[in-house]
């Protein structure tokens, strides 16, 4: 049995059914063996970055680590943005790169790069496999690390000659031998008691739900906590879907482009219960002035996150689901009528429709991204899986789609990497073939991974692609408008004919520049479960995303509308 067999058998032991892989010189011996393992489906993206982002989305949809595979050198370096993205967003992934043969390592051989050195800062752990005998244990450890605790990518670098080494038997280990890897223990009862006390005493509490709620699958417990104590739930971008947006206690996303009322609620709160989030700068605004009057209870599986950015009164390190269960056992029912009424007032005064009106830049009757997202929401009955790109399209998708289910929004949060939308949609569709997957992208981001239209074509994936075309790198343009006196340096795009491009990939494509046409094609797309549909919407060049907290400002200074 060769090393290639050992690797594939190990992956099967880990229940891997999909590999997003790109072959190259050092993977041929491995790819050669794939035919013997029909349990594993191999998907070829058109660029290795796509492989990593597809694997990322696969995890977000299934909760199981996605697997991506590349050859040495450029194949490996091309993965990097996708791996960093998964690292920032706590996404479980096993990234396998092949390396030059062991006797060539360190000689600057053809397509050799020190990829373990390169990935070190953006993985939970990485391995360089020295011998085929280590391979099964390495795979076992990699999947264990990627899927437990705070999930994050694990990288394995395997020299090509290992695939040709022979081993008599295949024994997949049962044991984990990672003495330095400890999952947080149950929090102390005294800390739980303190948290319960703070919740009981508080008059203006808010819950901020982050990605950790979804990763821990703790949405039922979250709902119970919110309902029992009548606490409004605000989410981070990646926490969207932890409580259905239709729930009366769900008051939306906070942060730089969060709902103004969510920002005001956090700013005026006397207690913040942060669950599975890291209080990053996009949600806190100016950290020194963040929720100054509030006590903070921080629940997170990663002890290194607690107290990193914000002062914490009660630290509850551990699994969100277990901790929420403990809190729920100890909390009596409570009402916060005045507080909820106050939040409702802010909400009424700053409704999205008002905000939308204020964002329209030109006096023309151009299409507005907000209306398009709302129409998609309506036509898909709020049930589509939305893969967004990064920038204005991402914020509009987050603001105007009514997410009802966990893991319904796939978005690059921490790294904010353009080009994520299209490969993420593909990964999500492979992970759940029955899902209606919509990619919402801008004209900048789509061109970063537009080659993946080829993957959609090859597998005839029924993904709906919504291109919001404003002819600019819109978010940067918005900052240039607001903070750099409209010096639109390097943000105006000279675009190709996207419709012709999609059609060249044999994908049905339509362009809409007015509302009746837009409505018509969205409806068509929502009804067609079989094939892909590329929709281009010509939106206002200078529309902005509001609300906005300018970088480094206090959440209370959320800007509601354009200053004109």
């Amino acid at each position: 049995m060769t090393g290639a067999d050992i690797l594939l058998k190990s992956l099967i032991k880990e229940k891997v059914d999909l590999i997003f892989g790109y072959p190259g010189g050092k993977t041929i011996a491995l790819h050669d063996k794939l035919k013997d393992y029909p349990q594993i489906k191999h998907i070829l993206p058109r660029h290795e970055q796509g492989a990593a982002m597809m694997a990322d989305a696969y995890y977000r949809v299934t909760g199981r680590p996605g697997v991506c595979l590349t050859t040495s050198g450029p194949g490996a370096t091309n993965l990097i943005t996708g791996v960093a993205n998964a690292y920032m967003d706590s996404v479980g992934m096993v990234a396998i790169t092949c390396q030059v043969d062991r006797d060539m390592v360190g000689t600057d051989a053809f397509q050799e790069v020190d990829i373990t050195g390169i990935t070190q800062p953006i993985v939970k752990h990485n391995y360089f496999v020295e011998n085929v005998k280590e391979l099964p244990q390495t795979i076992k450890h990699a999947f264990h690390l990627a899927s437990t605790g705070r999930p994050r990518p694990v990288h394995i670098d395997i020299p090509g000659d290992i695939f040709k080494q022979n081993l008599k038997e295949f024994n997949y280990p049962q044991n984990i031998n990672l003495p330095g890897y400890q999952l947080p223990k149950e929090p102390k009862q005294t800390s739980v008691d303190q948290a319960v006390d703070l919740i009981k005493k508080s008059a203006r509490p808010v819950i901020i739900a982050g990605h950790g709620v979804l990763i821990a699958r703790a949405w039922t417990e979250l709902k119970q906590l919110a309902e029992t104590s009548q606490i409004p739930v605000i989410s981070t971008l990646l926490g969207i879907g932890s409580l259905p947006q239709s729930h009366p206690l769900c008051i939306g996303m906070l942060g730089m482009h969060g709902m103004a009322w969510a920002n005001y609620a956090v700013h005026n709160a006397d207690l913040i219960i942060g669950i599975g989030l890291r209080f990053d700068d996009r949600i806190t605004g100016k950290i020194d002035e963040f929720a100054q009057d509030a006590n903070v209870i921080h629940i997170d599986i990663d002890p290194a996150e607690i107290g990193k950015n914000t002062l914490v009164d009660v630290a509850l390190p551990g699994d969100c689901k277990q901790i929420l269960k403990r809190l729920n056992q100890n909390l009596p029912a409570k009402k916060h009528e005045r507080w909820l009424a106050k939040v409702a007032t802010w909400s009424r005064d700053h409704r999205q429709s008002l905000v939308k009106k204020a964002t329209r830049a030109q006096k023309t009757k151009h299409l507005m991204a907000q209306d398009i997202i709302k129409e998609i929401d309506k036509q898909t009955k709020s049930q589509a899986v939305i893969a967004s790109d990064v920038g204005q399209n991402q914020m509009w998708a987050a603001q105007f789609y009514n997410f009802q289910n966990p893991n319904q929004l796939l978005s690059s949060g921490g790294l904010g990497s353009m080009g994520y939308g299209l490969p993420a949609a593909i990964g999500a569709q492979f992970a759940d073939p029955r899902a209606q997957v919509w990619a919402i992208v801008g004209d900048g981001g789509i061109q970063m991974n537009i080659q993946e239209l080829g993957t959609i074509m090859e597998h005839q994936l029924p993904i709906k692609i919504v291109l919001l075309n404003n002819g600019y790198l819109g978010m940067v343009r918005q900052w240039q408008e607001m903070f750099f006196k409209k010096n639109y340096c390097a943000t105006k795009l000279v675009n190709p004919n996207f419709i012709a491009l999609a059609q060249a990939y044999n994908i049905k494509a339509e362009r809409a520049a007015d509302w009746p046409k837009a409505q018509k094609i969205i409806k068509q797309a929502a009804l067609d479960k079989k094939q892909s549909f590329f929709m281009e919407f010509i939106i206002g060049e200078e529309d902005c995303v509001f609300p906005m907290v300018p970088p480094g400002n206090n959440l209370k200074d959320t800007i509601i509308k354009r200053n004109q």
Binding site: T116, G117, Q120, P121, K124, H125, F128, L145, L178, P179, G180, Y181, D302, P303, A304, I306, G307, K308
Partner: protein, 162 residues
Amino acid sequence: MTTRNQQIVILQVQDQPGVLSRVASLCRRRRFNIKSLTVGTTHKTGISQITMVFWKEEARIKNIVNQLNSLIEVLEAEVVHPKDVIDKELVLLIAKKDQLEEYIFKKCTVNDINVRIINEIDGNPVYELLGQGGAIEKLLQGIDIQKNVIKLVRSGLIALKL
């Protein structure tokens, strides 16, 4: 005892290739300012100890330890109180002829530093100083290095937890 502006962190790590690089790289990317770092084997097979001294960053030291603890090959990272450890540092120093002898020997007696003149180069004495980290720090602070010292190297601190 260390002087006031420093903090000692002890790491027990798996003795594996790359572990030092992981620790050092983490400190670099999170901009933790390392004053000294030593690494060596311990009484336990397969386990090495890294002793790190950081310039004191009160608010961040807990985060530093948390981040170090999240490395898979780090078995344990902890900030140690000076009273809980024996810490030592070795200094090799070539002094200019007849400049420092009186000062060094006097200070070493007072501060319990082991001192020997181990060699002489062109008539300049080579000192070997071995003592508690804080004492060494104090002794060196009293020397005008530009004026009186030809060469000086320090081993960095090692600390034994009691």
